[in-house]
Every structure is written in C-alpha cells, then in structure tokens.
C-alpha cells in the first residue's frame, strides 16, 4: 500500500499508475504520451483519470484534456530540477486546474515541500521509505513569505500580493 500526503493528511493512495494492477473503476494515472495517443480510450473508462507529466512536458499541451482529468502528477526526478514548480504554477494560475495536483519522485523531500506546496501542489508522493511525518511537519517551516502563492500554505504575513481582489490568489 502506497501512502501519500494529501492536504496535510497522511493517507493511502487511491490512485494507480498505468501498469499497476487495477480495476476498470479505479482511479488511474496515465503518462501524457499514452494519454495523447488515444484520449478517447481513456475517457471511456468509468474510473477517474489522471495524467503523469515529466519535467520536459509542456503543460499547455494538456489544456484540452484538463476537463477530463481529476489529477495531474508532475515528476521531480531530483531536487535540483525545478521545472515542475513552474509547471504547477501554470496549471493552477494560467490553466485554472482545480483538481488534485501531485508532486512525485526523488525531488519531493521535506526540504522542498514548503515551496512545492506554495506553487499549488496539494498532494505529495515522495519516494517509498521517506518519513511522511517529517514531510508534513516541514509544511510549517515558515510563517511568512514575500511572494503570492497557494492558499494551502497558511502564512501570517505576505508581501507583493497581486492587487486586484479577483486575482488575489491562484485558485486551488
């Protein structure tokens, strides 16, 4: 059983990755290439659908599929590869994706999750064996920030917030 941290809750993962054993009605995460190769095949399934993107994938290519997706998972192969931070921000703020946004991989560690969550991720899937309690605690490392970011991280004070009330926060 795989555990993840979802909105600060430690819980078993309901989702399966393509290739893992799963039923027709299970929630399934499909890599972008396969999804794009035959979107209809996946949309026909009865279970919820998710997409898995690598750091080099363009989130813009996902825009037509987004209405079908309950989850987008972005891969972080190592902590130094920061492309997923911008992908997340674009998905939330630009494409208005309101489903589950998951950070997956070796780059998802307690020392990264505060910033990841500020970029709009609401579920975290570190490598197996990572101490999820420590990851959860790390979400409270800072009580202030200079930049706008996801409302999921509650901060006492922020600066440089977008002015217009309608655009005050990225939606998530």
């Amino acid at each position: 059983m795989r555990y993840i941290l979802q909105r600060r809750e430690l819980r078993p993962d309901d989702w399966r990755y393509l290739g893992e054993e799963c039923a027709e009605s299970d929630a399934l995460i499909v890599p972008l290439a396969q999804l794009r190769a035959d979107p209809l095949q996946w949309q026909k399934r009865s279970g919820p659908l998710g997409a898995l993107l690598g750091p080099a994938d363009s989130v813009a290519e996902l825009s037509e599929l987004l209405p079908w997706l309950a989850l987008v998972a972005l891969q972080f192969p190592n902590p130094g590869d920061g492309r997923g931070y911008s992908q997340a921000r674009l998905l939330r703020a630009r494409l208005g994706f309101a489903g589950e946004l998951r950070a997956v991989g070796a780059g998802v560690r307690q020392d990264q999750v505060f910033l990841l969550t500020r970029c709009g991720f609401d579920s975290l899937e570190p490598l197996p064996g990572v101490d999820l309690e420590a990851v959860r605690r790390a979400l409270n490392r800072y009580s202030v920030a200079y930049q706008p970011g996801s409302a999921q991280v509650e901060l006492r004070r922020q600066r440089f917030m977008p002015g217009a009330p309608s655009a005050a926060r990225s939606p998530d």
Binding site: D81, G82, Y85, Q87, R94, V144, F160
Partner: protein, 551 residues
C-alpha cells in the same frame, strides 16, 4: 538603509532554524552529502579546498557600522580574524567549521543579515552601483529596487531550483558602475520626458565560459511592472533553460539559441498572460522602501579646497581615493583593500571595527562594499578628510592606488577555491612587488587588472583593461593575458594577446605591456583608450619579446 520589519526578521530567523535542522540531519547521517549540497549552497556554504567557505550576503553592498562590527566579531569567533570582500559585494569567510555555521547565521540574523542564496542555482545577491544615492550623474537611486528584488527573490517558491545561478544588477546612473551588461538581467533606471521612472531591461549577459554582453529585451519597463516582468523572464528560463549540461545552463545560452527576438516574444507573452497572478509591486510598497533610502541629514556646507598646501601623500590620496559627491561640502572616500603585500579584498577584524567607529563619526554610520573589492565611506564632510586620511593610514587602509594598476580584482584562486586551475594571490603579490613605485603607477594612470583562477571568471577577467586568467598546463600554473576589456560605462570583452605565460613571468609581461603603452600613448590618453586606438598587435609583439616560444 533598509531596516527589517517583523516579516523580514521572521523569515531570516525561520531560515536559521531550518538550516540548523538540516546541518543536524547531515551530521547525523540522515542527509547524504548529495542531498545536503543544494541546501547548504542556498545558505552560502561551499566546501572548498581546505575547509568550508561561507559567503555572507551584503545586499547591494550596504552595511551599517553595527553590521560591520558583527562581521568582525564573527570572523574572530568562528574564523581566523579576517574576511574577504568579493566582486559581488559580499563577504567570504574561508575557515568556518560546518557545525558552527548555524550559529554564525543566527548571529547574522540578529543584525538583519543572512547568507541566503549567495550560491546555488537560484537568484543571487542583487548588486548596485556603489555610488548609489550620491553620484552626481544619478537618475534614481537603484537601492530601493535592489531591496525589493532581494525580497521578491528570497525563497521564491517557483525559482529556487533554476538551471543555473542567476545574477541581477541595477544601475541608476548614465555611467554603468554596476557592470549591469554582464549580468543575467541588467536593469538600468531611466527617466521619461514626463518624469516617470522606468527601466531598460537587458538579458543574457554574463562572464564565465563564453562571455556575452546582455541584449536589450525591453527599452522601457514601468517600475510597478518590475516583479511581473522578472517573473516572466525567470519562468521562461526555468522551463526552457538547459539542464543537461552545466556549461550551457545559463540564461545567455537560452537567449542565444532562441535569438533575442523570439526570447522577447515568449517573455512578453508570458508577462501579459501571467500579470494578474504575478507578484506585484504596489506604489505604496515602493514608497515604503524608498523611504529607507532618503538623502542623509547633510549639513549645509560648501566645497572647499582640501588638498592645497597639504603634504603630498595626502594630496595623492585625495586625488586617487576620493570621489565627488552630489552634495556640496561632501566627498566619497574609497577605503583601499589593496595595500601592497596584502590579499586584494581581505580585511581584518580590527580594521572592520575601527572602520565601523570611523563611519559612525564621519559618514552617518554606513559603509559600502564595491565590486572592485574596496570599501566606501559615502558621505564624508570635506573638512574632515585629512583626519579620515590619517586614521585610514594608521589602519593600513589608505593605499593611494584606487583606479591604478595595483587596485586589481582577484578571485581567491588556487589557495582556497577547489575549482581553480592556478593561484591568483601569488600573482597579485608579484604584481604589487614589481609595481611598488607609486609615481610609476600614477604615470600609468587608470588601469584595471582583473584576475580569475579559472574559466568561471569570478575575477571578471574578460572585462579587465588587462585580464589575467589562470590555466593549468600539465599541472603547472600558467596565465593567459587579455587586453581591452571594460565594464565601466562602455562594456567590452578583452582579447587574448597570445600564448599564456608561466607564473614567474606574469608581472614582467605586464611591465612590457604597460611600457608599450607609455611609448605609444598620445597626450593624456588612458591605457584603455590606447588599446582601443591601436589594437592589441603592438602589445603582443612587445609582450613576448624575450619569448622564443612565441616567435
């Protein structure tokens, strides 16, 4: 200067707590060196040749006397009683112990300082003209914008894991004293005919391997759009900058591969599309920050003749080590960290403390670091200059060589840096010894030597009038010499004059070069102007005169 409010203070305090825990986990074996590395780098901590090296941020080079005293205390308590000022206006400690670093950072936080993002692939310390706020030719003070960028870049959720380091400089004067054209982003303040302030934005400049001069991406950017525009540039870079090859990962490579036109259109599109959700600099926040940089409470004085009738050494110091000030009766004083026999940029704890006291007495309690590795007392009343000179003299900080050949820039090189190919400090000493005659230096006039121990170009050798680059030749230290570079006012990259020379021959080669200049210069012509006029060929011929290998 800027004072932290509760938000600023909480952030650095929380950062110290975070790093303390990371160091603890690393020492306990819970964080491998590979995992710890990006974390320590983002707190200024390198592992160098002999020991860790800690780079402390001095945002845009501005320090209070209290901060300088705290730095002195830190170098005494945790290091060997001295620090090294860098070309990016920061201070490096060469010998801290890893386990002490959290305590050092806590001491820094107590005086509103930090080492956040002074290394690593993220936005680094923002630099400015050291004459900010006092230069007679200034359009607007760059420091409020630097402070705003510092804050915005600190722990930026999206841009903390960039492809490579990212350097921003802001200049507020017509003469670019911040070398903004060789930064990843260079911002030049402009005033429109209507009086509004904005920026000309350059992108993709940089030294290192394949040096490039930045190109204009936007002629005019209103100041309130600053953060949204920076975000657009950084987002394009973060998504599309190369990550497969460290030598191709700077933004200059991306700009070059897309071409400035295409890069510009991507950024403009991103800027427009992302504006509503981007960080925003409100007019009131800008005013708040500007309020910290108002002109000092100057006395009303008039300009006086300070030098006439005084002893010649004072006159020389006055001429070389002081600069005009915007306010009558005041002068800016360069504190030379280039004494002959000393390491360029090094300063002892005792000197720091004495200078802090002096700054409190004569210059509103503030000290600045310059990108030429000197310090500056910005606001000294002219009638106190003689007294200031005497005191600096007694501290060994009055070497009257600013702007001359021995006011050279040098990175730490092989003595400290694990990336170095060759030593820089021994060469600096060799040059100081060979050119120890002040009258000769004065006759040579303004010459900038910039020296790096390897291709990474921390000593900015490409933009030195004379650039010296250490290279490794079969395990020996050799030096490649270039001429004609410049970062001040007019940015140009130097041209290599020929084969590199062995370590013992660097100073003599320089002597042949400057002798060539003395012979061929026109009346009153500066070295750099002679090089530009006649090209490097005459220098090449003479520099290798005794070198059969180069024939």
């Amino acid at each position: 200067m800027y004072r932290y409010d509760e938000l600023d203070q909480a952030l650095v305090d929380e950062r110290v707590a975070e790093f303390r825990d990371q160091v603890r986990r690393h020492l306990a074996g819970e964080l491998s060196e590979e995992e710890f590395r990006p974390l320590r780098l983002r707190n200024g901590l390198y592992i160098q040749r002999h020991a860790p090296m800690l780079r402390i941020a001095i945002p845009y080079g501005l320090l209070s006397a209290q901060q300088l005293r705290a730095l002195a205390h830190i170098t005494r308590r945790y290091d060997r009683g001295y620090g090294h000022f860098t070309t990016r206006q920061n201070l490096q400690l060469n010998w801290p112990a890893l386990a002490d670093v959290p305590d050092i950072l806590a001491e820094l936080a107590r005086v509103q300082m930090h080492a956040i993002q002074t290394s690593g692939n993220c936005v680094r310390n923002v630099t400015a003209d050291h004459m900010a706020g006092i230069a007679p030719d200034e359009i607007d003070d760059p420091r409020p914008y630097c402070e705003i960028i510092r804050q915005w870049a600190t722990l930026h959720p999206e841009f903390t894991y960039l492809p490579r380091k990212f350097k921003i400089a802001v200049t507020g004067s017509a003469e670019d004293r911040a070398a903004s054209e060789v930064h990843d982003i260079g911002l030049q303040l402009r005033r429109a005919t209507g009086g509004e302030i904005g920026f000309t934005v350059r992108v993709g400049g940089g030294l290192g391997r394949a040096p490039v001069i930045g190109q204009v991406i936007r002629e005019w950017l209103p100041v309130t759009d600053l953060l949204a525009y920076l975000e657009a540039i950084l987002r394009i870079y973060n998504l599309h900058g190369r990550r497969d090859n460290i030598h191709k990962a700077r933004i200059k490579v991306l700009v070059k591969s897309l071409g400035i036109e295409r890069f510009r259109s991507e950024v403009e599109h991103e800027w427009q599309a992302g504006r509503a959700c981007a960080a925003q600099l409100s007019a009131s926040e800008l005013e708040r920050v500007r309020g910290f940089f108002r002109p000092q409470a100057y006395e009303s004085l008039s300009n006086i003749d300070v030098a006439s009738g005084r002893e010649p050494p004072f006159q020389a110091w006055y001429r070389y080590n002081t600069r005009p000030h915007r306010v009558p009766g005041y002068r800016a004083v360069l504190v030379s960290l280039k004494a002959h026999g000393a390491v360029p940029g090094d300063m002892t704890a005792g000197q720091m403390e004495a200078l802090a006291d002096l700054a409190e007495r004569v210059s509103f309690g503030l000290v600045r670091s310059t990108h030429t590795q000197n310090l500056l007392l910005a606001d000294v009343p002219q009638h106190r200059l003689h007294e200031v000179w005497q005191e600096l003299l007694s501290l060994g900080l009055a070497m009257p060589n600013i702007g001359t050949l021995t006011d050279m820039i040098a990175c730490p090189g092989l003595d400290f840096c694990s990336l170095a190919n060759a030593g820089t400090l021994s060469v600096a000493r060799q040059i100081q010894e060979r050119f120890d005659d002040l009258d000769y230096l004065y006759d040579l006039g303004e010459i900038e030597i910039k020296m790096s121990g390897c291709m990474n170009a921390c000593g900015h050798h490409h933009v030195g009038h004379i650039g010296i680059l250490g290279v490794d030749k079969h395990g020996e230290e050799w030096y490649q010499i270039s001429l004609g570079g410049s970062a001040n006012g007019f940015t140009a990259l130097g041209e290599v004059i020929g084969p590199s020379v062995p370590q013992p021959e660097v100073a003599i080669t320089l002597e042949r070069i400057v002798e060539t200049y003395r012979e061929l210069r026109e009346d009153g012509e500066r070295f750099i102007d002679t090089v530009r006029r006649i090209g490097i060929a005459p220098f090449r011929e003479r520099a290798y005169a005794l070198h059969p290998a180069a024939a």
